[in-house]
Chain length 384, copies 2
């Protein structure tokens, strides 16, 4: 299948860029002397995850038990389910463990830890749990110096549950945009997680693994002393949010949405395309960043980034491409005649997404494009 | 299956509310003397659409050819594909028509009309096309007085393509919030579309159908003289955006996301739940309305709307429920101890969505709940 024959909208993966992103991250982790455990919530796609494993990843991170089930069925056994678990989800987790999955669960509170201990009494197999540490206040986890940290560790250990490690995710890195701030947050993430592990060990709770990561901090950390593994997800595709954060070039973005021009509103300078929010997602992550790309940045069919244009608005199956007055907007390109000549009905564009995790989730499959324009279908799954 | 046994997050449909919404709209359309053609892009679910048809709907509206294919396969033959078509999509449309689907296509420009005429020359079956009219400037279509309207009509008619009617969608109704403004826009939508039909007829182009609609204008129109049918979609579920527009009560909202409390950050007053943006969608449609519900409005397990709380933030699989200081926030309910007592680990909430079309699309199936709490699985599809 060739690119020209695709129905639109379609989610395209540029295979060369994907491989470059995967290899660059793995090389970085190798140089820093840590294992790398990619977060597969970004792609939910076996082809992408197999490429990550071939590059050297050791184990994967998942955000749902469905991801764990899907990738375990494909042969991946070392899986970290990085969302705080509650007792009602334990039977489903145990079903995987009984089949041979080395599934690690996560908690950040005493009540859930006690529920796991209670479940463990009647479970067929041992359970391994990692404790979530909060190193930047952005969401979940226990702060490194909190009394709760030891309480959770002791509750688990005393109840016969293996405390496998600590993990943290400095998600506030998405709000930064300078190398200095990102490097400082990476060090804060590292130091906080290492400190939590130290406190557990000093209290007699074993804590083998120290797991940190977000795409920005993984790419900006200068050293990772005491860390055993790093997690990151969106780096495989990258996106406009990551570009604004400052950790990728536009030309690194491997995911885009192929769309067709279906109309014009010439007096407004609008080009109507068939990529609306159902294709792009409703993610407006660049809205609060230095450069707002609307619902995405158009790339012409010859591969040129259409700087100065954006997908300025989106309905369910309609998007509006228009000039934003940004860098590179040529004089006169907005006139009615030019608009219809530059964007003829039926012509195709690609739109780079704000947030690859959200845009990918709108599609049942990716269309992976190689250097010759040949297209392979890579399935992805959704739901829980 | 009972509600208590569901894994979270899950998309719940309250069957009683759904039926009430469907019946109320159909009664209104019957009273106004027009046919009703529901837009099935909201639910993409056969169970919902069959309920709409049983209530009296005549034909359906779709936003993608995949919807047309799915509902035609289920026995629905009268289908309006309400997004401007381009020639590359005609073979797929024709495949449906050849099987007996009475598919109506839409255009709003001369180039696409000419492409349809060219395709028609070699097509096995006749083609019916409706012309999209722009009555409020919010997106696509041709304004009622534009010369292009007649040009498109004549191009189609001269080329042997049936001009079946005109349609318009006053999508800017979503930006309004008073009965007066909505009623005025409904009249503008009606008058503009009727005028376009009149101009076509006067020019000798047949134009049998005059199709208007959006949920707010459908619910606020006072008369529909000259209109033959109305389209609306989100009315079946309703949502917080529609509540802010003023066309439904909170208790009319039939779609919600069932979620489990997985953690707390007591010093911040945060309750962490397992409904993040993957479950709710990234839709922040209430952000620019009179009342901003964040990513959704929580409802407690006993059915009480938790006024004063919202899903204030969302990561992929984490949501943060917290007080917003809105109506009904009791003094003291935010203290650390109260927070963990009111929202115990493992307890469940439901979150009402900003935008039902976007939230529904995140799920492979709905869980439809009847008055006894029994749950049926209603499949839905996604993709193109």
């Amino acid at each position: 299948m060739m690119l020209d024959s695709l129905d639109t909208p379609a989610a395209l993966v540029d295979i060369a860029r994907l491989k470059r992103n995967i290899d660059a991250m793995q090389r970085r982790m190798n140089a820093l002397g840590v294992r790398f455990r990619p977060h597969v919530k970004t792609s939910k796609c076996l082809d992408v995850v197999q490429a990550q494993c071939r590059a050297g990843a050791q184990g994967i991170t998942v955000s749902t038990l469905k991801e764990a089930e899907a990738f375990f069925a494909a042969g991946i056994t070392d899986i970290l389910y990085a969302v705080s678990v509650v007792p009602s989800k334990l039977p489903r987790a145990m079903a995987l463990i009984e089949k041979g999955c080395r599934l690690k669960l996560v908690v950040d509170n005493v009540n859930a830890a006690a529920g796991i201990v209670a479940f463990r009494q009647t479970a067929a197999e041992p359970l391994e749990v990692w404790i979530e540490v909060d190193t930047d206040g952005h969401r979940s986890g226990i702060t490194p110096e909190a009394a709760t940290l030891l309480e959770v560790g002791r509750t688990l250990a005393a109840g016969g549950v293996t405390v496998g490690g600590v993990l943290t995710h400095a998600g506030s890195s998405y709000d930064l945009n300078t190398p200095e701030a990102l490097t400082a947050l990476a060090e804060q993430e590292r130091a906080g997680c290492v400190r939590a592990a130290q406190r557990l060990r000093e209290a007699g709770v074993p804590c083998e693994n120290v797991s940190v990561g977000s795409t920005p901090t993984a790419l900006m950390a200068t050293h990772l002393a005491g860390v055993t593994e790093v997690r990151a997800g969106v780096y495989a595709f990258f996106d406009l949010v990551m570009h604004n954060v400052g950790v990728c070039a536009i030309d690194d973005i491997a995911l885009s949405v192929l769309t067709t021009v279906i109309g014009h509103q010439p007096e407004k300078g609008w080009v109507i395309v068939d990529a609306g929010w159902m294709a792009m997602s409703r993610d407006r992550g660049t809205a609060k960043q230095a450069r707002d790309f609307g619902y995405g940045l158009p790339v012409s069919s010859d591969g040129t980034v259409m700087d100065g244009y954006a997908l300025i608005a989106a309905n369910q199956e309609h998007g509006i491409v228009a000039r934003t007055g940004g860098v590179g907007a040529e004089a006169g390109a907005g006139s009615s005649e030019d608009l219809e000549r530059r964007f003829p009905i039926g012509s195709k564009l690609r739109i780079l997404p704000n947030h690859a995790c959200a845009t990918g989730a709108q599609f049942p499959a990716y269309h992976a494009v190689d250097a010759n324009g040949e297209v392979a279908t890579w399935g992805r799954f959704h739901g829980w």
